[in-house]
């Protein structure tokens, strides 16, 4: 234990969870969605949380994403103890440190592809015009959507939408990108392409990617796999393939 503490002090992790639990109240009954989960995630990792439906994947991602707070335990994300952030601080923290990729893509329908990617730079980070344009074009090129930049979300395919969502998540240079079942609404071929895009982005921008999935074929793409069952962390599998040190 002493060694772990020493390592925590010297090494900066993307995420450190220590005995994190989360209870939900369903009427008078408290349901434990996560039970004393502990793990550390290195920067620029490509990590997956896997498990069946109801295992606590989404709950864990929500906690890491500062969208929810643990009932017990300690959680540090990008070097910040997120337990004590208030609503506004959480929003600011998310805007400056995290990127989100959603299962349903969640693009803003009234904005074009370009504008969707621009949104967090403009409305969250207030990045100046010139810099904004440069970063958006870099992202559009990285996800191969330059030609589609003026289209609205309802004019592009599911795979393209998710690539736009990846670009939107990464355009703010986040330390960590969280993706909850990012391929659930895609066919396998597209799902693999999206994951490839994510990996490519990880390599290019050194961003930590954490995604959840219950699709066994997709799981294999992750470099570190945490298995969850009934809210408990039941396994960790480290695979080769991480390209950076």
């Amino acid at each position: 234990m002493g060694l772990v503490v020493a390592e925590n002090i010297t090494k900066i992790y993307s995420v450190v969870a220590t005995k994190v639990s989360k209870d939900y109240q369903a009427g008078e009954i408290a349901i434990r969605a996560l039970s004393e989960v502990s793990f550390e995630i290195d920067p620029a990792s490509f990590v997956s949380f896997v498990g069946p439906s109801g295992s606590g994947k989404t709950t864990l991602l929500n906690l890491i994403g500062c969208l929810d707070k643990p009932t017990e335990g300690k959680l540090t994300v990008a070097g910040t103890d997120v337990l004590h952030l208030d609503r506004k601080q959480s929003a600011a923290f998310r805007g400056n440190n995290l990127g989100f990729i959603f299962q349903d893509f969640n693009l803003i329908p009234v904005l074009t592809v370009y504008e969707n990617i621009e949104y967090p730079l403009l409305m969250v980070q207030n990045v100046p015009g010139g810099e904004r344009k440069k970063r958006i074009l870099t992202m559009l090129e990285a996800v191969g959507m330059v030609d589609q930049k003026d289209k609205y979300p309802d004019q592009i395919s599911g795979g393209q939408k998710q690539r736009v969502a990846i670009a939107r998540a990464l355009v703010t240079n986040p330390k960590l990108v969280l993706a909850d079942e990012p391929t659930a609404n895609l066919d396998h071929k597209t799902a693999f392409m999206v994951l490839e895009s994510m990996k490519k982005m990880r390599d290019e921008f050194q961003t930590t990617f954490i995604f959840s999935t219950h699709d066994q074929k997709i799981v294999g793409e992750a470099e570190i796999i945490y298995s969850l069952e009934d809210g408990e962390l039941v396994g960790k599998q480290v695979k080769g393939g991480k390209k950076n040190g």
Partner: protein, 413 residues
């Protein structure tokens, strides 16, 4: 800010039919208010103009206590020569005054040698009176000259008809003097005046020197001094100023000599004018209710339909204040759209109304042409009210959106 407007407008265009319906409601409300204000306001101003410019003047100065007894036209409450001269001195120094006219008002008997009736008369200096109430000559029926000579009388039309008096006829005016004696004088009918609604609308006119003769006044006394201002909009300020100036003039008992009243205190039409203003206020309140309910309804729907979007933008770090602004700007834009369309449509309809030369009657006055006019300040005030209410109506839904928990919003189906 520009981006908030861009997003707001695109969101409004997303539900074109709903936006159009709501904006139409606001537009119709604005058009109705503008029309009502322009027509009722013009009617009010026209009647006020008729009364002040053909009878009352903008304001009047009396001896203290005269107004309370004005129905009896009490000669004992006239301003004496000294008091009038002092008043004249003060009035001559006021740059706001265009003209003023001293009047001797009295009641008497009017006889055609065949028939006799009561008459209320104004003794005036014609030149001063016509400068103070410039529309008075317009009340003279066709064919009569527009000046009042000594020895002439202008009589109200109704009296002329009922007594079968024509221009050029000789008549007698008999009046009781201040000491109780009776005196009479022959006059030639020099003009017949159309009656107008309001106090003094059925009075006759004679030269002030003739009035002094009938009333056996050795030196001039004045019942009232009617005043016309260069700028009617300065009425309240000037009334206050003159009141302040005259309140320092005290009699031997230490009481004020003069009292100042503007047309509002002198005419019962003021109550009608106030009713018109109150009705305009109620119409504005209805507009506020229409805008408030319709925009709030649309914004509540907008928030409800976009819960997941709100969750998304909140999750990616949009601060609650900015989410609130997004919806407030949307409500503001909707209100602005209604205001712009309402003002344009209102202006077109007002132009059509004026072009149509619609006539109306008021009292015995017929053929008055309705001239709908709306002051730029009214347009500005109505526009600001609508926009303000639009913002207020969006606040509650916007606040709700900004307070949404992203995690719950993202789960919303």
């Amino acid at each position: 800010m520009g981006n908030l407007f861009k997003i707001a407008i695109r969101n409004l265009l997303r539900y074109k039919r709903r936006t159009l319906l709501t904006a139409s409601l606001v537009t119709i409300g604005v058009v109705f208010v503008l029309l009502f204000i322009s027509i009722s306001g013009s009617f009010k101003n026209m009647i006020i103009g008729q009364m002040t410019d053909s009878m009352l003047g903008h304001l009047q100065v009396h001896r203290k206590g005269y107004l309370a007894a004005i129905d009896n036209l009490p000669l004992n409450l006239n301003l004496k020569m000294q008091a009038y001269k002092k008043l004249e001195g003060i009035l001559n120094q006021q740059p706001e005054i265009e003209a003023y006219s001293p009047r001797i008002k009295f009641g008497g008997m009017f006889s055609t040698f065949v028939e006799t009736t009561n008459i209320r008369l104004n003794g005036v200096y014609p030149d001063q009176e016509l400068k103070t109430v410039p529309l008075l000559p317009s009340r003279l029926t066709n064919g009569t000259k527009k000046t009042l000579e000594k020895g002439e009388i202008w009589i109200p039309e109704l009296m002329a008809k009922s007594m079968k008096v024509n221009i050029g006829d000789t008549v007698v005016v008999i009046a009781t003097n201040q000491d109780g004696s009776v005196n009479g004088k022959q006059f030639k009918v020099g003009g017949i005046l159309e009656s107008v609604t309001g106090p003094g609308g059925r009075d006759g006119y004679i030269h002030i020197e003739d009035a002094m003769e009938v009333l056996r006044m050795e030196e001039m006394e004045v019942s009232e001094v009617a005043i016309r201002l260069k700028d009617f909009s300065r009425l309240y300020a000037f009334t206050e100023k003159l009141d302040r100036l005259l309140s320092g003039e005290l009699n031997k008992q230490g009481k004020p000599v003069y009292e100042v009243h503007n047309w509002e205190k002198l005419s019962p039409f003021y109550n009608i004018a106030r009713m018109i203003d109150i009705m305009a206020l109620f119409i504005k309140l209805m507009l506020i209710a229409v805008v408030l309910i319709s925009i709030m309804n649309v914004m509540i729907m907008a928030v409800y339909e976009r819960v997941r979007e709100i969750g998304t933008i909140a999750a990616i770090g949009t601060l609650p204040g900015k989410i609130l602004s997004m919806f407030v700007v949307e409500g503001f834009s909707l209100g602005l759209l209604g205001v712009v369309a309402g003002n344009i449509l209102g202006f077109i309809i007002i132009t059509i109304v004026n072009f149509s030369k619609i006539t109306f009657s008021f009292g015995r006055e017929t053929g008055l042409i309705l001239t709908a006019k709306v002051a730029p300040m009214d347009v500005l005030v109505i526009s600001l009210i609508v926009i303000f209410i639009s913002v207020v109506a969006s606040l509650q839904p916007a606040f709700k959106a900004s307070r949404m928990e992203p995690i719950k919003a993202l789960r919303h189906v």
